[in-house]
């Protein structure tokens, strides 16, 4: 091997001269966090009756009007695709006809630090491939989109589910956007990746091209919320550099959890002693993306930094306090 090159192993191939972070690399290949839908800190697998925000870690289910969808890890208890143990399940609660301004969708916001190398918005924009197994009670053409932080550059895409209630592997290759403004190496939103579940015309664009619009899905896509009881299950989500999908980048559980904890942490069993006039500090296991919002079951905890929180104590102590910390995008 020549000096300065590296052999990078994928599931079945070895590519000489590969570049870490590129299509065949096995380190930071997948820009999606929790793509295998393993981590569910908020709900621990329980059903979410009216999701409108984060569900499984890093994945949001968004509804213009809540009550049209339910969501849950492994909802419906179908057998996940080979190689996976979990999926994000969404089910329509009614037969709802979306109006132009309605939008029901799943998405993940990828942090700018994890997409800066894509060089979108420049002549050097890299091609990416989005891949995922998907399962639905419906058949037809479904839609999704990539979108920038300012929601003024979008790439709607479509994918087909030809057989109901069967996992179908989807791969969508997208040439990077050479124009527009994309967040670089910061803790802001680098790219939104979305899957439409019923999106009105305001937020649908023509599939297969970049445009200056705020699109969540593609024109003509199937509406999941349009059929009562319709299901949409997804897992194995991977967004990688390159023009073809490679094997899913499995990560160790601890690694995946730590990646999720940059954005959200749920902690139980915090104890604060009964003393006078002290500040009880809690060091966080992972440095968060930004200073977090804190909710507590006992008293008020304050933010010191992205790595530390504290509670001012004056004669009252607590045991078994549960905290949530959110620094989501």
């Amino acid at each position: 091997m020549a000096y300065g090159t590296i052999n990078v192993d994928t599931v079945t191939t070895s590519t000489q001269g590969g570049v870490l972070g590129a299509g065949n690399a096995s380190t930071m290949k997948n820009r999606i966090i929790n793509g295998a839908m393993v981590i569910d800190q908020r709900n621990a697998g329980a059903s979410i009756a009216t999701p409108n925000g984060y569900t499984l870690d890093r994945f949001r289910v968004n509804q213009t009007t809540t009550g049209k969808l339910t969501a849950q890890q492994n909802q419906g208890s179908v057998t996940p695709p080979v190689g996976f143990s979990n999926y994000l399940g969404v089910t329509s609660s009614s037969a709802y006809v979306v109006s132009a301004g309605d939008a029901y969708w799943i998405d993940q916001a990828i942090e700018g630090f994890n997409t800066a190398d894509l060089a979108w918005g420049t002549a050097n924009a890299k091609t990416i491939t989005l891949s995922f197994p998907v399962y639905s009670s419906l058949t037809g053409t479904f839609g999704g989109a990539l979108r920038n932080s300012a929601s003024n550059r979008s790439y709607p895409f479509t994918f087909s589910i030809p057989v109901a209630n069967t996992w179908t592997n989807i791969s969508v290759t997208i040439a990077g956007d050479t124009t527009g403004t994309w967040v670089g190496a910061t803790n802001g939103v680098g790219v939104y990746v979305s899957w439409g579940l019923g999106v009105g015309s305001t937020y649908n664009g023509t599939a297969g091209a970049w445009s200056a619009g705020n699109y969540i899905s593609a024109t003509g896509a199937t509406s999941v919320v349009g059929t009562s009881g319709a299901t949409f299950y997804i897992t194995g989500v991977q967004l990688e550099v390159g023009s073809s999908a490679t094997g899913f980048e499995y990560r160790q559980y601890g690694t995946e959890l730590a990646l999720c904890q940059r954005y959200y942490q749920a902690t139980t069993g915090i104890a604060v002693p009964v003393v006078i006039n002290i500040a009880a500090f809690v060091n966080l296991p992972v440095s968060m993306r930004a200073s977090p919002t804190i909710t507590s079951t006992n008293g008020t905890f304050n933010v010191l930094s992205t790595t530390s929180i504290y509670q001012s104590v004056n004669g009252s102590g607590y045991a078994g306090t549960s905290l949530t910390l959110s620094a989501e995008l």
């Binding site: 802001g188 500040a279 993306r289 200073s291 919002t293 909710t295 304050n302 933010v303 001012s312």
Partner: protein, 66 residues
Amino acid sequence: MYKLMNTLFGQNIVRLSDNACIPFDPANSDATEFCKWLKDGNIPEAPDGGTVPTQDEVNAIIAKLS
């Protein structure tokens, strides 16, 4: 609705709907929501033992979070 809170290391924001403590960090999405709420002309409640912020103070908060 929000309330300001004086702490050992400066001020935080309390979201009254769930008593969440929100930092003064423009990268925090909840702080961004608070900033939008201020821009809509709303005024947060005074911190314990303090006074309701003046419009100039609110403008300073908006500038800090923008």
